[in-house]
């Protein structure tokens, strides 16, 4: 226990001073700084497009924003004014429909994948959801046209909701799985050790613990599908009038932007810019909500 007493210490004489840098030391230091700076530039370039988009939309679209723009339907071609109120309503309705149809399935599937871990069934489903995530959205639109629109005899909000729900499925399934997996195993064991069934453990302990992560994923996915155009072209189709019936074609902001943008009229181009600004504001708002609103009251300190 008691080693030799520690006496006064002297520095060894051979050590070089700390600030004496050789050529090699300097080269290493410079190279480190250069690479760090390059990654910083890359990070800046990543966010640059969003800033540019936002800046451009503000310049091109802000002028056309007025109360009428939010509350009225498009004006007949050639007339000034009009708005995209029906598109805003339609987008909310379509996203709501897709959520109502897709979220219960996606969250259930995510929980299943997390619980079943490496089983062959789970691996198969996981692979298929990854493939689904990569299916071009226009293909989903065509598929829903063939199976829903044709069967129902016409374009409808319902068909649009189905198309968006299909897009939603793989995204929310995988984020739910990831979030459920992040719940510490100890917490799950704590519930099982109290004599909970697996179902009760999942519903009462695991899902609440993963709640904020799952909700964040849900909001991001909803924001993502809110901006989709291609799956709606052959399903919801678009509608220049107010419509809230599930069986009728319905307007949607992205579809309206598309139709205005390809039209030859200057007035409609302006409306397309303004609608784009509105759409990106909606999407940003949802992303911000995902970030700030959803905080579990029982997160740790």
């Amino acid at each position: 226990m008691s080693g030799p007493a520690i006496g006064p210490m002297t520095a060894p004489q051979h050590a070089a001073p700390l600030d004496a840098l050789s050529f090699r030391d300097r080269r290493r230091r410079i190279s480190s700084r250069v690479w760090l700076a390059l990654t910083g530039v890359a990070a800046a370039l990543t966010v640059l497009p969003l800033l540019l988009i936002f800046f451009h939309l503000l310049r091109a679209g802000l002028g056309s924003l007025n109360p009428e723009f939010f509350t009225s339907v498009p004006a007949p071609v050639g007339q000034p004014g009009g708005g995209v109120g029906n598109g805003v309503l339609g987008t909310f309705l379509l996203v709501g429909l897709a959520g109502a149809m897709g979220l219960p399935v996606a969250i259930g599937a995510g929980v299943y994948l997390a619980e079943a871990e490496g089983g062959p069934m789970a691996n198969g489903i996981r692979f298929i959801t990854d493939v689904m995530n990569g299916i071009p959205s226009i293909v989903i639109g065509i598929f829903v046209w063939a199976w829903v629109v044709v069967a129902m005899g016409g374009f409808s909000a319902f068909a649009g909701g189905v198309a968006l729900a299909i897009m939603l499925l793989p995204m929310v399934t995988r984020t739910t799985e990831e979030m459920v997996r992040l719940v510490p195993r100890e917490m799950k064991e704590g519930a099982l050790a109290l004599g909970f069934t697996r179902w009760r453990t999942t519903l009462g302990v695991v899902l609440p613990a993963a709640r904020s992560g799952i909700l964040t994923g849900v909001l991001i996915a909803l924001a993502r599908i809110a901006g989709e155009t291609a799956p709606l072209l052959f399903t919801a189709f678009g509608n220049p009038f107010w419509s809230a019936g599930l069986g009728e074609p319905i307007a949607a902001l992205p579809v309206q932007i598309f139709q205005y943008a390809i039209s030859p009229f200057e007035e409609q181009h302006k409306q397309a810019w303004a609608a784009s600004l509105l759409l990106i504001a909606l999407v940003l708002a949802m992303n911000l909500a995902a970030r700030f609103l959803i905080r579990s009251p029982y997160r740790s300190r």
Partner: protein, 284 residues
């Protein structure tokens, strides 16, 4: 540090004749009247790796049994075999049997939910639910239908928190998040949560290893209080702790039970050389 005459601070009456002289693989000739847990040639495999070799031992009721041994010796595996927490792990296999008051916990058709209601568990890392303090204790009791009505539940929560020596510290903030408690308080909350389900046996997997000395002392005092009512099995890396809190000690080494006996005897006069080497700090 290396004093082999470690004495438990409290003098215990020799309540049960668990045979000290018997070899571990040998069943005591007279089975104690109040036997809580018994393992018969219990072996356990994770995939192809054998973690436990033919463990045979008996644990008496309302006593504290400590499982000690170096890391990887199988003591936690054995503990988790008692309430079948290992069932969650894919690729496991066992042989032999463990009985709880004469009933096999591995018999086919047994509902592990029923088993785990009778055998509570406290983990190394405190794992309160992300809910309020009240809800942490009440949840298990409510799910298992142990308290009817709000009043009965309130009473049960209070009683359990008092049993876990936590009531005085949290009675004015039962609706606050359990995650705001200190590590030691969280661990006592987990004990209260387990007690609220009214188990007979309490398994503790290194319950104080992540706590500071003062919180550890509280948990140890608690164990001493609780053994009046519960059979307690505690896994610990800390031999002083085993000596302080337990009545019986089982020394595991490389998946085998080397020696089991009264704690006083095992620590002062071990039969096996390996036990002596371990408890005197020469290996492990």
């Amino acid at each position: 540090m290396q004093d082999t005459t470690v004495q438990a601070p409290v003098q215990r009456a020799p309540a049960l004749p668990l045979n000290d002289a018997a070899m571990p693989t040998e069943t005591p000739t007279q089975a104690p009247a109040e036997l809580a847990i018994r393992a018969d040639d219990f072996s356990f495999w994770y995939g192809g790796t054998r973690a436990l070799n033919d463990i045979t031992l008996e644990m008496p009721q309302k006593q504290v049994t400590a499982l000690i041994g170096p890391s990887g010796c199988g003591k936690s595996t054995f503990l988790r075999s008692i309430n079948r927490m290992n069932d969650l792990i894919p690729g496991i296999r066992h042989d032999g049997d463990i009985t709880l008051r004469g009933e096999s916990v591995y018999r086919t058709g047994l509902d592990v939910v029923q088993l785990r209601k009778r055998v509570g568990m406290v983990f190394q890392k405190s794992n309160p639910f992300p809910k309020s303090i009240y809800e942490n204790v009440a949840y298990g009791a409510r799910v298992n239908g142990l308290a009817k009505g709000r009043r009965a539940l309130d009473d049960l929560v209070e009683h359990s928190l008092k049993q876990a020596a936590l009531w005085d510290e949290v009675s004015d903030r039962l609706d606050r998040s359990a995650l705001g408690l200190s590590g030691g308080q969280q661990q006592r909350l987990c004990i209260a949560r387990a007690l609220a389900v009214q188990p007979e046996v309490l398994l503790m997997d290194e319950p104080a290893s992540a706590l500071d000395p003062i919180a550890t002392q509280k948990i140890e005092e608690l164990i001493y209080e609780l053994k009046d009512q519960y059979t307690i099995v505690i896994v610990t890396h800390n031999m002083q702790q085993a000596a302080r809190v337990s009545d019986y000690t089982a020394f595991f080494y490389m998946g085998s039970l080397v020696e089991m006996g009264r704690t006083n005897t095992l620590f002062t006069n071990p039969r096996e050389e390996r036990t002596e080497a371990y408890i005197t700090g020469r290996f492990g």
